[in-house]
């Protein structure tokens, strides 16, 4: 079913199955035919764990998206709302329920909060006079969704904003709960490391939750050896830089949502005879990206400059395979060839898709402006001219390039200079407000509050120390056959991943000084295991480390981590 989830060191299908079981159990509670009304946002994450067929098996006959006024007609016994706990959604639900009540045959309403019930929302439903209409009000903690054999996501887009801007710790609570679920399935993780304020809190919550569940001793042999919790704000630099891996660039240019990407359709027009050329598709082409696709698994983490050669090599292999048909003479040979056809055709389709995507990306990366932007980013990251107004940024503002691009560059400069000189900061601010509108005072204030943009205090720039100690800038990068994680940003080694690397070897004690400069505490906790579950380590055996980014991770960072893990596997 989802075979790609079981390829990794840890079989994540176990988690997926657990999540699906819980969903089935809930559906069976609402006996009879049902319609599900979806908070549209949730369809993406749910799509990763269940298909419509699963719902259908449990008598789900209709599905709608949540919208105002009345529900579309459906002759079902149960109406179930699948929603995030948000106040504005409660208002819509109430509207739906009230107009349904007037319509006639009564049905049973239920509500499933994802990832959890909210007293605030229930209060709102009560105020609107509909709380009593719901028979089941439950929560479905879709905390960690398996994406790939080595990747889980909480798909919680707002987490960074909530944690660092609004100081709302709810998403940390979910993180801790997700980690508890994981430990219930894969055993207690004996060692927890962390860096940052949020990391500290999540670790505290986990320890507390464990204490509360002492009743049932976890008797599963631990799969993970370590857990590393990392605050996103320990490393704000990495997400500001442009990712240069294949997957990273797809995300930079088109945005990957719930492992899907939407691409301009022109490049993917069907090349069939007859209907070609007439009606070009107008709807975006949607593709799922994960390592279930062999070719994608091979190229996703490569530096984009190394993708072209793989694609052309692959093209030769496939056309050679198709040529084989001329050599097939006997019935047996022909049969053999035919049996391989589906696989070959899939491979050809996959190759065609990725060649098209690579072409689209190449159009961007070979543009002059992309080159200029990259040059400036690399200057900042290697510590060149970070203390004065940058003329490229000025130009971008003057030409009214997208605001997000300008802000990313300005913030990058700020981070690489431990804050901007007041005069420089004021200059940028003024230019931005005059060009993009004064209401962005609020935007800039938020960036300052989150620490992405700030005036330099104390007149000291710590970045060079951090850069040198952690070897964040590598001058000679091999993009084709990398020897260091810095290939993912063509020179810059992501700080977060460097921390993970140094933790495994030689340990954080060697970088105490830098750890003190970076924000938030760093710590180590041990979760004692009963003697029966303690691992007897064989020499040369690899440890399995789970790394949890609190506030998001970039695809380039994931690529860098995969690279490290391959190095480990290799020796």
């Amino acid at each position: 079913m989802a075979a790609h989830l079981s390829y990794g060191r840890v079989n994540l299908n176990v988690l997926r199955e657990a999540v699906r079981r819980e969903l089935r159990e809930f559906l069976d509670k609402c006996a009879g035919s049902k319609a599900i009304v979806w908070d549209e946002y949730l369809t993406g994450p749910f799509g990763l764990i269940a298909q419509y067929s699963l719902l259908k098996e449990h008598e789900v006959e209709k599905m709608f998206t949540l919208k105002g006024s009345r529900l579309p007609a459906a002759d079902v016994k149960n109406i179930i709302f699948f929603v995030r706990p948000r106040l504005e959604l409660m208002d819509i639900i109430a509207e739906n329920v009230l107009s349904e009540d007037r319509r006639g045959p009564t049905r049973d309403f239920h509500i499933l909060f994802v990832p959890r019930r909210s007293l605030l929302c229930e209060q709102r439903l009560k105020d609107l006079g509909v709380l009593g209409s719901f028979i089941h009000r439950e929560e479905y903690s879709l905390d960690l969704i398996p994406f790939d054999g080595d990747l889980l996501s909480m798909e919680s887009e707002g987490a960074f904003k909530e944690c660092y801007l609004e100081s709302d710790q709810t998403s940390l609570y979910h993180a801790a709960k997700g980690l508890m679920t994981l430990q219930a399935l894969y055993g207690t993780i004996p060692q927890i490391f962390g860096k940052g304020e949020c990391a500290r809190q999540v670790a505290n919550m986990m320890i507390r939750m464990k204490r509360e569940f002492t009743g049932s001793q976890n008797s599963i042999f631990p799969v993970f050896d370590n857990l590393l919790l990392l605050d996103r704000n320990v490393d704000l630099l990495t997400p500001l830089a442009t990712q240069l891996t294949y997957e990273g660039l797809i995300d930079e240019i088109y945005g990957i949502q719930n492992s899907y990407v939407k691409l301009p359709p022109e490049k993917f027009a069907p090349k069939k005879q007859g209907d070609g050329g007439k009606d070009l598709p107008t709807e975006a082409k949607k593709l799922q990206l994960n390592s279930a696709e062999e070719l994608y698994a091979e190229i996703r983490d490569k530096n984009f400059n190394a993708v072209g050669s793989v694609l052309s090599k692959r093209a030769k292999v496939i056309s050679a395979a198709f040529e084989e048909r001329h050599n097939a003479k006997t019935v047996g040979e022909i049969k053999q060839f035919v049996s391989q056809l589906p696989h070959m055709q899939a491979a050809r389709g996959s190759l065609a898709n990725h060649t098209s995507i690579a072409e689209l990306i190449k159009d961007v990366t070979t543009s002059e402006d992309f080159f200029d932007k990259l040059t400036v980013e690399q200057e900042f990251m290697s510590g060149v001219d970070t203390d004065k107004v940058n003329s490229y940024i000025e130009d971008c503002i003057a030409q009214k390039h997208p605001l997000i691009k300008v802000l990313r560059l300005v913030c990058l400069q700020s981070v690489c200079n431990s804050g901007l000189k007041q005069k420089v900061l004021d200059y940028y601010k003024r230019e931005i407000l005059q060009t993009y509108g004064y209401e962005h005072i609020l935007t800039l204030y938020n960036l300052e509050k989150a620490g992405l943009l700030k005036p330099q205090t104390g007149g000291r720039n710590n970045y060079p120390t951090i850069r040198k100690t952690l070897r964040l800038w590598m001058d000679d990068v091999n993009e084709q056959n990398p020897t260091d994680i810095s290939y993912v940003y063509s020179g810059y080694a992501p700080l977060s991943v460097r921390l993970a690397q140094l933790l495994s070897r030689p340990g954080w004690r060697s970088i105490e000084e830098v750890l003190r400069i970076l924000p938030g505490p760093h710590f180590e906790e041990r979760q004692p295991l009963p003697t029966g579950l303690q691992k007897k380590r064989q020499p040369g055996e690899n440890r399995v480390t789970l790394i949890f980014f609190l506030g998001g991770v970039t695809f380039a960072e994931i690529a860098a981590l995969r690279f490290l893990s391959q190095l480990e596997d290799g020796g």
């Binding site: 509670k29 006996a31 979806w38 993406g44 799509g47 298909q51 419509y52 067929s53 719902l55 008598e59 006959e61 209709k62 599905m63 998206t65 006024s69 579309p72 007609a73 002759d75 106040l87 009540d101 009564t106 049973d108 959890r116 909210s118 007293l119 605030l120 709380l131 009593g132 209409s133 719901f134 028979i135 609004e166 100081s167 709302d168 710790q169 709810t170 940390l172 609570y173 801790a176 919550m205 509360e212 598709p281 709807e283 975006a284 082409k285 593709l287 130009d395 003057a398 009214k400 004021d426 601010k429 003024r430 407000l433 005059q434 060009t435 509108g437 004064y438 209401e439 005072i441 609020l442």
Partner: protein, 492 residues
């Protein structure tokens, strides 16, 4: 193949059209009913035909059978309730499961014992709900099999733990301030925002504002949650009171300012911005807020005036270049561009003149020149462009000067498709020779390239360039003349 294609198209169109139609009786729909039923039955047939396990993908890439695909699908079939039901009936006759008898009334026994399953498991609280008339909620603590409302002996920590598990429980019995604060502290130590907020709602309701603020001031985590909560429910008044109490004046000011985004009417928005001027922003921001107000004030005047001019149809510029959008709420630089476009020659005294805008908002030279250049180039007013860069010194000599560098001038001119003669003039003014040569080559200013190569005595480059110009053109002749000249001492 052809048959299904046509039908499919019809199907997709109709499903798009009918998804989320809320009206039961739609005349147009019932007219279409006949044909649609035909299409649908056909679809069923087709479905059955190729109902295999292979994953199919619709054009938009949603795998057939995925959740988001199915929403479109099942919603599309329910155009009108009548029809939906009919269709369902016909489908059910094929389906394997038998439908459960429907309860005849809301208060039937079956709905009464809906919670049975939980009860048997002995794990959860059983909740009965009576619809509509009475809303009585009875809790059965299943472990001990005794009815209980809520126990009075639950400590704050028990209560918080129950809240965290999503169980309903009353906070009303915590009456003393000490109890309430202990409850809050317990909630905070759990880090569960949901519970913290629940307790805060209770405190907000039962404590006076002064006491609530005072106690939260020393409890930062809870305080942040309250601020977030107030923002969420839009209780602007209490939020502002809170900021005032905490002396967080800048946040107070920004929070007030943020409100302007919700005001659509320009007059009202302007009046609101006026109330923001003088609030305790940082020194820098204060100036920006003042500018924001002044800008909108100007825009309202300009907009009224220009709309009138445009509709009167007497002014040439508006006739030739009708306005694409109103200037209201546009950024400053956009306003300046607008004013350079429509009001370039106006005297400084008018609100809409570019010079007036430049002075009022202290727009830097660079910014001004860039914007004016873009606007005048768009109108192909090359004289104005020329004047923009011409300065006279005290002896009366004219000189060309560009605060943004002539390479930028050239690029902007090219973007606005200026003719080669004009481009050439400005390319020649670029100081750095390499840049000049690059730009000239890029924009095909042949004369500049040729002359520069000659000046550089770079024979090789000139030779190379010869292949790029048209055969038999004046440029080619010019190059040949230079290459054959004996006056030049080539460096290569």
């Amino acid at each position: 193949m052809n048959r299904t294609k046509g039908d499919e198209e019809e199907y997709w169109n109709s499903s798009k059209f009918k998804a989320f139609t809320f009206d039961d009786e739609d005349d147009e729909l019932s007219q279409l009913k006949e044909s649609k039923r035909a299409v649908n039955s056909l679809r069923d047939f087709v479905d059955d035909e190729d109902d295999d396990d292979l994953e199919r993908v619709s054009w938009s890439g949603e795998p057939v059978g995925s959740i988001s695909w199915s929403i479109k699908e099942t919603a599309g079939n329910s155009g009108s309730s009548q029809e939906g039901r009919e269709q369902l009936k016909s489908r059910n006759s094929f389906s394997t499961y038998t439908q459960l008898p429907k309860p005849t009334s809301t208060y039937s026994l079956s709905s009464f014992f809906r919670g049975k399953e939980h009860w048997l498991k002995g794990q959860r609280v059983l909740v009965f709900s009576f619809q509509k008339t009475t809303q009585a909620i009875i809790f059965i603590y299943s472990g001990r099999k005794r009815l209980l409302d809520y126990s009075n002996d639950w400590s704050p920590s028990d209560t918080v733990r129950r809240l965290r598990k999503g169980k309903v429980c009353s906070l009303e019995r915590f009456r003393s301030l000490q109890d309430k604060l202990q409850l809050l502290e317990e909630a905070v130590s759990m880090h569960d925002g949901n519970v913290i907020t629940a307790v805060l709602i209770f405190l907000k309701r039962t404590l006076s504002k002064e006491i609530l603020f005072r106690e939260l001031e020393v409890r930062q985590v809870a305080l942040r949650h309250l601020i977030h909560f107030l923002k969420e429910i839009g209780d602007q008044k209490l939020l502002l009171d809170l900021f005032r109490f905490l002396d967080r004046t800048e946040e107070l000011a920004l929070s007030h300012y943020r409100e302007h985004l919700n005001i659509q009417d320009p007059e009202k928005r302007k009046e609101f911005l006026k109330t923001c001027v003088g609030l305790p922003f940082s020194a820098e921001d204060s100036a920006h807020i003042q500018d924001h107000y002044t800008l909108l004030e100007r825009q309202i005047i300009i907009e009224a005036n220009d709309r009138h001019l445009e509709s009167a149809g007497q002014t040439e510029i508006f006739r030739k270049h009708p306005r694409k959008a109103s200037i209201l709420n546009m950024p400053l630089v956009t306003t300046l561009f607008y004013s350079c476009f429509y009001h370039y020659t106006e005297a400084e005294g008018t609100f809409s003149s570019p010079v007036n805008l430049k002075k009022t908002f202290k727009i830097p030279d660079k910014q001004y020149v860039l914007t004016a250049l873009a606007a005048r180039a768009k109108l192909r007013a090359w004289h104005d462009v020329d004047a923009l860069f011409t300065t006279k010194n005290w002896l009366g000599y004219t000189k060309k000067r560009a605060p943004i560098g002539f390479h930028r001038v050239v690029e902007i001119l090219h973007k606005n498709s200026a003719p080669v003669q004009i481009l050439q003039e400005y390319v020649n003014l670029v100081e750095d020779v390499d840049t000049k040569l690059n730009l000239a080559t890029k924009f095909k200013c042949h004369d500049v390239v040729i002359d520069t190569c000659r000046d550089l005595k770079d024979r090789q480059q000139l030779l190379a360039y010869r292949s790029k110009v048209d055969k038999g053109s004046a440029e080619e002749e010019k190059i040949d003349a230079i290459l054959n000249s004996s006056q030049i001492r080539w460096k290569n």
